[in-house]
Symmetry: D2
C-alpha cells in the first residue's frame, strides 16, 4: 500500500507511559550516579565560566579558535590527554581519560551563528552590532558535555569504574558539518557508544531521526556584455540561475511530502548595467532518510545542466557536504530516559520565569515560562520533520544516545536572539548542569552494565543492516578557508 | 507541538482485528438479510442488462441522458415513485419506495470518462475510437445501488420492514460534482442514513476521508497584437497565464504536505503570430480537510490578481465547484464490515482470473489476479491521500456508510481502459451483485435496529460539531451546458 | 560601427520623387498596355465571379480544393495548359500559355484564414459561424493574377508579344507556406521574372523585404501520474513546456532588436488531475534576414534540451517550415512604379467610401475612407518590420517584382473580419482589377524590353551573390494532412 | 505609418562632408584660439599632475573627497572663485572667473569605478587589489575641462574676452548621477552655453542623444520561517523577487526595440535554511527618449505590486535617480567640429602605438593602435543605442556642446582595466590636452560671437519646445551615505 497515515497512536503512547512508570519504580540508589551529580555541582562555577567565555567569543563555523582553546585547555587542566587539530580541522580536538574498554564518547559543539549577537536581556539588544551569537546554545553544549566527561573521569580516577571516556570537540555544526571529516578520519572507530545532547526549550530523550541533508553549490559561467549597448553579446549567468531556481520550484510538485529543497542565491551579478558572467547558488536538499534524499539530490543537481543549456552558459556543481538522518538507538535512549525520570524537572526561580515570560512576550509566544517536565519517551516517527544534524553521521558508525535539555523558554524561536540571551545567563547554565548530570549518569550505566552496551550495539547493528556508511563529503581537506558565503 | 508523525499503529490495528473477529462469531442467521441476497440474485440478469447498457452508452458528466433513463425507467418498472430532473439537473432523479421513518438513502452514479472507450478484452482496444468509457465503473455503481434499493423495496412491500428506501440517481461525479446541487436543493434533509459504494480493485468498508477539493477557473482578458509587427501594442494573456502558473509553482514551497495544487491550461492562445487576448486555466486545490483547503484556495485565487497586474491585463476568477472531505461514520461502517465478513470474498472462475492476469500483464502490475478478501476495518487516517468525491458533501448533511467492492483486477490503474474492460463483463457484474448484497444487508440492519441508526447519528452529530455545512458551489443553476473543457 | 540609426532619409525620398516625376513625363502611349487594360475590363464580370466563389468557399491552407478548381478550371477554359497537383500538393497547379523565352511567371494565392467568416457588411457578422474567411484577400489575389496572365495570353495569342506566360496557383500561404515545396520541386527554374501582388490598404510598389521566419514544433514526452495521489511518480511535460517558454522569455534580453520570437502552446495537458505526459508547442522565430535568423533559431531549438533535462522528460524538435526574407528587385520595381503612376489611383463611389468609413469606425481607425494614391517608390530598409511571406523563397530563385493594391479601407486591421467584408464586394473587386492591370502592364514591359529583363536579372544576381538557396523545409512530402493545429 | 527604417543615409552624410570641407577652407588665424592652445600647453605638467593624482585616488561616486579637493584647490590657486559642497553634495563644487555675460560653463567629472584598479601596463595588473579604478577616464575629464576653463580665464584676465567662465565639478556620474541635484539646485540657471567632453577611443563632435534612463529599487518585506521545519509559515520575499524578474523578462516581448530593462538582484536572502523576509533589487529602464521611457518605467514599477500579491508579501518602490537623453545642439556642435578639423588628429609616438596594440591584443581587438582622425560630423540618430549620461539633464536646461577625444586605443572595451591603464599615462594625457584645447577654442567662439550663442540658444529653445524639465530625482537630499550597493 502506498498510503501514508499521519496520526498519533495514543494507545501505544499510553503503553509507553506504563512501561516507564514501572521502570521508574525499580530505580535504586546508585552511588556512582550520585558521585557524577556531585562532580557536576562542584564544577558548576568553572563550567559556567567556560560557557560564558565561549558565549562571548561568538565564533562561527571553523573559526572557533578561542572557543576550542577554552574547552581543550580546561580539559587538559583536568588531566585529560588532549589531541588538537584532528581531521585537518584546527578547531577540532579529542580529550581522553582512562584506558581500555569500554570506550564511551561524548560530543561537544561550540560554534555560533552569524548576525545574532545579543545581550542577556529579554528584548532584542545586540552585544556587538552585526556580530555572531550563540543562537543555538552551543556554548552550553560543549561545556556540559565536557562537564559530563569530567565527572566520569573522576570515577575512573578513583577506580570506581573501568574504561575510557573521550570528549570530542566538534566544530562547525551550524555550517559545513565538521563531524563529517572527524568520522571520515576514523576518530570514532574504536568507540563503543557515543552520547550527545542539545540545548532546547524542553527536556526529553531525543529519539527522532531528524532529516538527512545535502548541500551543494552550482556555479554558472557566461559572457559579460553591456546590458544596454549589446546585451545580445552576453550569455547571462543571471538567466541561468533564475531558470535553475524556476526549475526547482516546478519540481516541488513532484517531490514527496517528506522532502525539502531550499536554496540561497549567493551571487546573481554585481552591477545593474552588465550582463553577468558569473553566478552562484547554494542548494540544500533534505529528506527523512538518506535513501529518499539521494535521488532527489541527483535530480536537482542534474537540473543545473538544463539551466546552463537554456541560458547557453557553462556550469559546475560542487558538493559542499551533507548529513545522514540519525540512526536512533532506543535501547540506549531508554536508559537515558530512566535517568531523566530520576532527576526530575529543573527548578527555576521566579526571576527566571519572569525573564522567560518576557522573552515569550517579545517573540509572540504563549507566556508559560520555562518547561522542563519529563514526559514519557516518544515513539520514533517513520518520517521526521524539522532540522538536521551532523550527529546523524556519527550515529551511523557508532551507537548514539541523545538528550534534549531545557535551556530556553518554551516555544522560543530557535536560531534567534532569544536563545542567545537565555544561553548567556542562569537559565542556560541550569540546563547545562542538568545535561551534564543526565549524560554522566547514563554513562555510568554504560560503564557499569556491559549487557546494556551489548544490547545498544545489537540494536545498532540490526538497524544499520548491510549499509556501508559513506558520508556526503567531498574529497580533499575540510573547507576551513572556504569562500562560501552563507 | 507542530510535528506530524507518519506511521502505522500496528497495535491499534491488531486490536481492531480481535474486535471484528469476535463480532464475526456473534453473527446469527437473519432471514431479511437472506431475503435481500435472494432478491439481488433473482434480478441478476436484469441488473446486468441495465449495467451493460449504461456501459455501452458511454455518457459523460451532465450528458447521461440514456443512462439516467435506463436506471429511472427500471426503478419505475419496479414500483418506485420516480422524480426526474431534480435540482435543476435533467439527469438527476430520486426513486422512492415505502413511507415513514426511517428514511434510508442510497447513492448511484452513472457517468463515464472522456477518451476511454474500450471493448471487453484484456488489451487496449476502443469500442468507439475517441469516445468516453466507464473507466470508473459507474455503470456498475448506479445499477448495484438500485439493485440494493429494490431488494429493500421487496421487504417493505412484503411488510417485513417499515420505512422508506430512496435511491438517488447522482450524475456528474467525474466532473462538476452533481451531488453538490442535489445537496443544495435540500434533497437529503429528511434522510436518516445514506449508503454508498464504489467499484474498486479490493473489497472493504471505506473509512478514509479522501481529500476536500475546490475547482475554479481563472480567465485573463488582454489586448491582441501582431506578434511580429507590433507586440508592444499587445497585452498578453498568455504572459499572465504563465506568470500565474509560475507563481503557483513557487507557492508549492509554502503549502503543507497534505495540500495538492494542480491546474490545466485550457487556452493559452490560438495562433502563433498573435499576442493572445484571452487565456483560461482550470485550477484545483485539495487538502485533507475543508479547513486546511480554504486558506490555500483563497491564496491561489488571489494570485490571479498579481499575475494580471504583472501582465497588465484583466482577470476573472470563477468558482466551478468543490467537495468536502468525507465525514466518516465508523459506527455505520462497523455494521457494514460485519456484513462483509458474513458474505466473505467473491468467487471467480479460472477464466476470470486469467482475464485479470492478462490485464495486469498489459498494465505492468503483478499478475496476482482478482483480490476480494475481507480485511479488518482500517483506522481512519488523520490526513488522507489520494482522490476526492462529492459523496463528501452528502456525508456532511447526513451520516454516510461507504463500501468498496472488487470489480477489477488487483492493482489496476483506475480511470484506465482496463477498468472499462472489467466493468463490461462478468468480473464487474459479480462485484455489482456483491455490492448490492452488502449494501442491502446493511440497510436491513438500519431498518431493523433503531439503536444503530441513533448511534450512527450520534457519531455524525459529534464529529460535525458546530459546523454549518456550506457547499463549494456557485450561485445559479448547475453548469449543464458549460463550455468548460477539461 | 555597431550603431543602428533609425531614421527616415527625407532627402533621398525627395530625390526619388523627382526621378519618378521625370520618368512619368517620358511615358508614351503603348498599345499593348492599352490592350491588357481592355482585357481585364472585358473579363471583369468573370473575374469577379471567380473571386466571389473563392471568397465563399472559405478554404484554409492545403484544403483549398474548390478554390484551386475554380481558378484552374477557368484558366483551362481560357486556353491555358494546366498541370494540377504539382509538388505533391493536390491544390497547387501551374497554368501556362505560349512558348519560348522569355518566361514570365505570376503568383496567385487563394487560401483563407480560420475563424474569420464574415458577410459583406461593415460590422462584424459571420457568414458561417466559426468558419474560415478571406481575411487576407487571397480570393482577390489569385483571381487578379490569373486575370493579368489572361491579358498577356491574349497578346501572345494575337502574336503581339512573344514568349510564355505562366500562372502559379500557390496554396497554403497563411500556414505551412506552400511555395516552399513548389520551389523545392524546381518549378521556377526556367522562369525569367516572376510577378506578384498583395491586397492591401494602400497602393504601391512593394519594395520592403519582410522578415525571414522559421516554424518548428517542440514535443515533450514524460510520465503520467495522478496529480493528487502520487505526483512524485509523474514526469511532467507541462513543466517542461513552461520551463521552455520561461527560457525563451529570458532569452529575449539577448536578441537583437530585429528579431522576434513567438510561440503557441498547443497542448499543455488534457485534464486537471493528471500530470501530463505529452505537451506540444509551436515556435516561430523571425529576423530581418536569413543570416540573422539562423543562429537564433538554433539557440531556441537547443533550449528544448535544457527544458527537458530540467523536467526529466524526453523531447523532440521538428522543423515545420520557414521562409526567406524577400530579395527585393528595385530595377523591376521601378518599371512597375511607372505603370502605377500611369494608371493613377482607383476611383471609388460615395457608397464605397461610406462603407469604408463605417469599417474604420467599427475598428477604431480614423474615418478617412479608401486611399489609393500613388506615392513615390520607397527606400528599401536594411531591416524590415512586420510580416513574412513565402514569396520570399521564390524571390531567391527568380527575380520577383511585387505590388500592393488597395482592396480595403485605410488602416484596416489585417487578418480581420473587416478585410473579409471588403474582399467580397466592389471595393475588393476594384482592387483586383487594378492589380490585374498594373501587373499585366509591367509584364508587357518585360516581354517588350529584353534589356529590362537583363537588368532585372543582373540586380538579382548581384544581390544573391554566392548564396546557394536552401529552403527551410523538412525532408519528405508537404504536411497536407498534418495534425498541426494552429 | 508605424514602420521604422534602420538605415544609414549616405547621401546626407556626403553632403555633410562637403559643407564642413568648405567651412574648413574659410578658417582664418584666430589669435585668441592660438592663446588658449598655448595656455593648455603651458600648464601641461600641472594638469598631468592633477590628473595622475585623481587617477591614483581611485574614488567612487560621492566619495571623491581627495579628487574634488585636487581640482578645486588647483582652480583656487589659479584665481578662480570656488564654492564647495554645492547642492548638498560635499564633493560638488563650482569654480568661476570673470563677470557678466556671456556665462559659459564647462563640466568636469572625476569619479572612479569599483573593482578596476590597474597599473599603467598593457596587461591586467591591479594597482590595489579589489580597489576602484578610472575605467571611464574621469581623471582626465575633470582635469581637461578645468584646463580649458583656465585657458579662458587667461583671456578674460588679459581683457581679451568679456564675460564669465564657470567650471562645474560634477561628482558621481557613474552611479546616482550627481548632476541631477546640481540641476535641481538651479546651478545652471544663469548659464548661456555649457561645454562638456568625454574620454573615448575616437575623436569627434558628440552629437548622439544617448539613452534616457531611470533607476529605482524594489524592496519586498515578508515573513521568515525555517525552510525545512515550517516553510508554510513563511512568506518569501525571495519568491516575490524571482516572480518579479520573471515578469520583467516576459514583458520584454512587449517593449519597443529601443527600450532596455536590466536589473541587479542585490539581496535574495542571507542563509540557505531560512525563508527570506527581505529582498531587494535595483532596476534600470532605458529608452531613446524620456517620453518613451516613462510608460515603460511605470509599467515595470507596477509589476512589483503584482509580484508582491503573488508571493503574499509587502513591497516598496523607491526612485533612485535617472537621466534624460541628451538634447543635442547641432549649431554649437558645428562650431566645435570646425575647431577639431582645425586642430587635426593627435600625434602618437611609436611606443604609445605599441602600448595601444598590446592592449588591443590583450582585449581581443584588432591591433590597429590609436585612432584620432577627424571624421565629418555625424547625423543625429532618431533613436540612439548605447549608454546614458547625466549630462543629458544639463542639456535640457542649458544648450550643451559635447566632444569625444581619444584617450584609449581603438576598440578598447570601456569600463575595463585597459581604460584605467591608458588614462594614467601619456596616451591619456595627450587626449586630455587635446580636449582642453578643442573645448577652449570653441569657448572662444562663444565669447567672440554673440550671434553663435543666439543661434545655439534658438536651436535649444525650438527643440525643447513646451517641455518643462523635471529631473528623475527623489525628494530630499542626495544619497550621499546611501546603503545602495551596486
Amino acid at each position: 500500500m502506498n498510503k501514508i497515515n499521519y496520526r498519533i497512536s495514543l494507545l501505544v503512547a499510553l503503553m509507553g507511559v506504563s512501561i516507564s512508570v514501572s521502570a521508574q519504580k525499580k530505580q535504586k540508589p546508585n552511588p556512582q550516579k550520585e558521585a557524577v551529580i556531585a562532580s557536576v555541582d562542584n564544577r558548576f562555577e568553572e563550567l559556567t565560566d567556560v560557557s560564558d567565555r565561549i558565549w562571548s567569543f561568538e565564533e562561527i563555523a571553523f573559526q572557533e579558535t578561542q572557543s576550542a582553546a577554552a574547552l581543550s585547555d580546561y580539559a587538559e587542566s583536568l588531566g585529560f590527554k588532549v589531541t588538537r587539530g584532528v581531521a585537518g580541522i584546527p578547531t577540532a580536538f579529542v580529550a581522553e581519560y582512562g584506558s581500555g574498554k569500554p570506550i564511551i564518547g561524548i560530543l561537544g559543539e561550540f560554534d555560533a551563528l552569524p548576525g545574532l549577537s545579543q545581550n542577556t536581556v529579554p528584548y532584542k539588544s545586540p552585544l556587538h552590532e552585526g556580530a555572531p551569537g550563540h543562537g543555538c546554545g552551543h556554548n552550553l553544549f560543549g561545556t556540559a558535555s565536557l562537564g559530563a566527561a569530567a565527572a566520569i573521569k573522576d570515577l575512573i580516577e578513583k577506580g570506581e569504574i573501568q574504561g575510557t571516556v573521550r570528549f570530542y570537540g566538534t566544530p562547525a555544526e551550524e555550517k559545513f558539518f565538521g563531524k563529517l571529516w572527524m568520522v571520515r578520519e576514523g576518530l570514532f572507530e574504536d568507540v563503543d557508544v557515543v552520547m550527545d545532547w542539545h540545548p532546547a526549550a524542553e527536556t526529553k530523550t531525543a529519539v527522532q531521526k531528524g532529516l538527512a541533508l545535502v548541500d551543494f553549490q552550482v556555479e554558472f559561467f557566461g559572457q559579460a556584455a553591456h546590458a544596454s549597448a549589446d546585451p545580445w553579446n552576453g550569455r547571462s549567468t543571471g538567466d541561468a540561475l533564475e531558470l535553475y531556481t524556476t526549475g526547482i520550484n516546478y519540481y516541488r510538485e513532484h517531490i514527496k511530502p517528506t522532502v525539502r529543497i531550499h536554496y540561497h542565491i549567493q551571487d546573481a551579478g554585481k552591477v545593474v548595467n552588465v550582463v553577468p558572467d558569473y553566478s552562484r547558488i547554494w542548494v540544500r536538499v533534505r529528506d527523512s532518510s538518506r535513501e529518499g534524499l539521494i535521488p532527489v539530490w541527483k535530480r536537482v543537481e542534474a537540473m543545473a545542466e538544463g539551466a546552463a543549456i537554456m541560458a547557453n552558459v557553462e556550469y559546475k556543481v560542487s558538493l559542499i557536504s551533507g548529513v545522514h538522518e540519525v540512526l536512533v538507538n532506543r535501547t540506549g535512549s531508554a536508559a537515558l530516559q530512566k535517568n531523566l525520570e530520576s532527576l526530575g524537572p529543573i527548578s527555576y526561580t521566579e526571576e527566571e520565569q519572569d525573564f522567560a515570560k518576557k522573552i515569550q512576550e517579545a517573540t509572540g509566544k504563549p507566556q508559560i515560562g520555562l518547561v522542563s517536565k519529563i514526559d514519557p519517551m516518544e515513539e520514533t516517527a517513520e518520517h521526521s520533520m524539522g532540522g538536521s544534524t551532523d550527529v546523524g553521521d556519527v550515529s551511523w558508525v557508532v551507537p548514539t544516545i541523545r538528550l534534549s535539555a531545557t535551556t530556553a523558554p518554551n516555544g522560543t524561536p530557535w536560531h534567534s536572539w532569544a536563545v542567545v540571551a537565555s544561553s548567556g545567563m542562569s537559565i542556560g547554565h541550569k540546563g547545562m548542569a542538568y545535561a551534564a548530570k543526565a549524560l554522566s549518569m547514563t554513562m555510568v550505566d554504560l560503564f557499569q552494565n556491559p549487557e546494556l552496551v551489548e544490547n545498544v550495539k545489537a540494536e545498532f547493528k540490526e538497524k544499520k543492516g548491510d549499509y556501508v556508511y559513506k558520508g556526503f563529503v567531498p574529497d580533499g581537506p575540510p573547507p576551513i578557508n572556504s569562500n562560501l558565503q552563507d
